[in-house]
Amino acid sequence: MLRYSLKRLLGAIPTLLVLLTLAFFMMRLAPGGPFDGEKSLPPEIQANLDRKYHLDEPLWRQYGRYLWDLLHGDFGPSFQYRDYSVNELIASGFPVSLRLGSISILLALLVGLALGTLAALRQNRPADHRIMALAMTGISIPNFVLAPLLILLFAVHLGWLPAGGWEGGRGRNLVLPVVTLALPQIAYIARLMRGSMIEVLRGDAIRTARAKGLPERTVILRHALKPALLPVVSFLGPATAAVITGSVVVEQIFGIPGLGRHFVQGALNRDYTLVMGVVLFYGALVVLLNFIVDLLYAALDPRVRYR
């Protein structure tokens, strides 16, 4: 188990290195630099800025420098937000994105599992059809459409919730972005759960349990739920990735100061270091989450063993 974990984590290093290299050079390939404004700078000042941020060096040296700083845990200074370092921006943005993302995943799991189970138990009856129709809608509406609709209804017309802003993560400010992020995931999880639950309920184990005369409640909760969860657990990896990428859009729309917003603005401003930092951070996060999901998998399914 320990060996497996170590192997997995070591295996992530080349992945991240490739990611880093690609991101570094793609970012530099994009036309325009961090200090390009409408008015060109006097050459002396441009030269000064370039020297200060080492942009006057050949690309391979900049790359080497970046790697070296990274080894020391330094993502470098932000080119755009001159008063901050990338480490500070990530440190301030990540907790925000984390809270937003984890609540969304939690909500998606709770509601998705409940709906999916319910649909499975009422298979091919009106309740099932209604839930699945709802799920299809949830999957097909993109978040950049859903978010403005929710804002118009709940913030502008009804005035119940704020239209944007974070304010330190107050509950009121969380509701709309969380719902926007969670809805498609609820839909996916409900569909997955329904399918897998139906399959499990048809299995021998459940037939045995019912034959022993166990109450239906116990059959579902004790015997059917755990095996039915497996496909959902393996979906958690991609779901988390989806929530992270989704939060790029959602944070932009709701004006939430998370990592996603730094990412978008960083790319537009050619803030090389900030974009690199966020990309790497996201990359490491996805690798880590997939690893955790695999461990969870082993815990849930006695047939899976890692060596």
């Binding site: 036309p31 325009g32 390009d36 409408e38 700078l41 000042i45 301030s92 802003g165 729309i253 100061p257």
Partner: protein, 530 residues
């Protein structure tokens, strides 16, 4: 299963019990997030908005834009027009209570032009003696023509009489910075807890991409007149998002208006809409270094003539913009912009002339001009480009290919002058003087993406820079403007308007051409209708 503690901890983390205290604060939408609150390194409208509240220069603006004494309560200009002597107010204080002195200004102005600071706007200070040589690294910053005669008296020497110099002193590059903290914290002096400023407000919080919170500076010399205690600036790039937040009551003043919703806004929120002339020119530039526009005045003039600016502002932009034929927009006191002869022709005559010139340039309906029009990606610019392409097609048969590019890509292409043929551009005046527009077409200017180069034009601008008499100076500038219009390196299209939604509870808002609105001049109206 009975291990509720981790779960409770998780829930506590996810849903902290934060009691939000309602405070009466002004919430201003502010476009993009600011790069820095260091006044010497900042650039752009969003940063300027905040810096105007935080800092105070020697001179400030009244709500209507008129120049009034700021940190300097009086000043004298000698007969040559090149030596300014400012008296710093006795009551001028930093937000920590220290006195603001003439030395603070000497230190700050030197820092602003010091190449090591890396100011992107240091060029504003070029009229000060030796400033240009210092920016170029040829002289040390201490050679700047600025000295403190005593604690309260600041003397500034200019290289030439610059009638608009006082106006420049409202710009953030001239603001004083608090030396002890700059020296102690370096580039990080402009962060909350470290920033000491001398304006009506001081910095309380700054959460990048969330908000900047300012609170009243009790040490400000005119603090008694400040009526709003707390001001929030929210970075919101997308104007539709901003509009939604305005309608939800979260923003009191918007920075922009979404064009596609303008009709709706005028109909439903008409009384809260503030549209006013803005000192800015929206124009198309020709790349004069390559065919087809190189050495082809007739073609350039034909294209300019064929644009129906009245239709453009009435049907397309439709927010009250003014059709523009001159290079300098209206609104500068005492200056009457030069206009080309066709400014007052009927459109039919313009079209006739356009067709004649187009034919003389060697084009016809069977051999039409094919041209690329570049603009930075935006719904508004696209609408304008489509309309103008249609006008050219209808009038002359010109085939226009529209190319939109992301902002930084667009800027690079414009500057390189290789790919561009025709491109969109706009310029908002930095100060209230025609020179802020005319200098753009100077052959050495950083925004001359047309590659316009006329020695006579440059000479006229240089002569104007040395002219002490205001009327003669304006006459020279006007002559230069007429010359540029005749050379047609650009097609001026319309003058910008500033557009804001202002919540009725906010009083004290006065429209002005530079669109500068100090929070200290605003106030909340009493609850209940007056």
């Amino acid at each position: 299963m009975s291990r509720p503690l981790p779960l409770i901890l998780l829930l506590l983390y996810l849903f902290p019990a934060g009691a939000a205290v309602a405070e009466e604060a002004l919430h201003r939408g502010n476009g993009a997030e600011v790069q820095t609150l260091d006044p010497h390194r900042a650039e752009g409208v969003p940063a300027s908005n905040i810096l105007r509240d935080l800092y105070e220069g020697l001179v400030i603006e009244a709500p209507n834009g008129r120049l009034i004494p700021g940190t300097a309560d009086r000043w004298k200009i000698d007969e040559s027009g090149t030596r300014y002597r400012f008296h710093i107010r006795e009551s001028a204080r930093w937000s920590n209570g220290d006195a603001v002195t003439a030395d603070d200004f000497v230190y700050s102005l030197r820092r602003s032009v010091d190449p090591a600071t890396g100011s992107q706007y240091a060029q504003i200070l070029a009229p000060i003696l030796n400033a240009e040589a210092i920016i170029a690294g040829r002289l040390p910053p201490r050679e700047l023509g600025v000295k403190a005669l005593d604690d309260r008296t600041l003397e500034i020497d200019l290289k030439a009489p610059t009638p608009y110099f006082l106006g420049l002193l409202t710009h953030s590059t001239t603001y004083p910075v608090y030396r002890p903290n700059v020296e102690r914290y370096g580039e990080r002096f402009s962060r909350p807890g470290k920033l000491v400023s001398n304006g009506a407000y001081r910095l309380a919080e700054w959460v990048v991409q969330s908000h900047v919170k300012l609170v009243r500076n009790e040490h400000y010399w005119n603090d008694a007149a400040t009526r709003i205690d707390t001001v929030y600036y929210h970075p919101i790039e997308d104007s539709s998002t901003e509009l939604k937040r305005y309608r939800a009551g979260e923003i009191d003043i918007t920075e922009a208006i979404p064009l596609q919703q303008f009709r709706w806004i005028r109909h439903h929120l008409g009384d809260q809409l503030r549209v006013a002339p803005y000192l800015g020119t929206y124009y198309y530039g020709f790349n004069l270094t390559r065919p087809p526009f190189k050495d082809n005045l007739k073609l350039r003039r034909a294209l300019s003539l064929a644009v129906n600016r009245d239709i453009l502002v009435e049907k397309i932009t439709a927010m009250g913009e003014k059709p523009l034929y001159s290079w300098v927009p209206d609104g500068i006191p005492g200056y009457r912009p030069a206009e080309p002869d066709y400014a007052h022709w009927p459109q039919s005559k313009r079209l006739q002339e356009a067709r004649r010139l187009y034919a003389e340039a060697g084009y016809s309906r069977s051999r039409p001009l094919t041209v690329e029009l570049r603009y930075n990606t935006s719904e508004n610019h696209k609408k304008v480009a489509i309309a103008i392409a249609a006008m050219w097609k209808q009038a002359l048969g010109v085939k226009v290919r529209l190319v939109n590019e992301e902002w930084k890509v667009f800027l690079q292409n414009r500057k390189q002058k290789r790919l561009t043929q025709l491109f969109r551009a706009g310029w908002i005046g930095d100060y209230n003087d025609p020179y802020t527009f005319l200098e753009i077409l100077h052959s050495r200017h950083g925004l001359n993406d047309e590659g316009y180069r006329n020695p006579r034009y440059d000479a006229l601008l240089d002569r104007a820079a040395r002219e002490a008499d205001a009327d003669k100076r304006f006459a020279l500038l006007r002559e230069a403007e007429a010359l540029a219009l005749a050379d047609q390196p650009v097609i001026p299209l319309f003058g910008y308007v500033s557009k804001h939604l202002v919540n009725p509870r906010v009083g004290g808002w006065v429209d002005n051409v530079l669109d500068h609105h100090y929070s200290k001049d605003l106030y909340f109206r009493k609850q209940g209708r007056p």
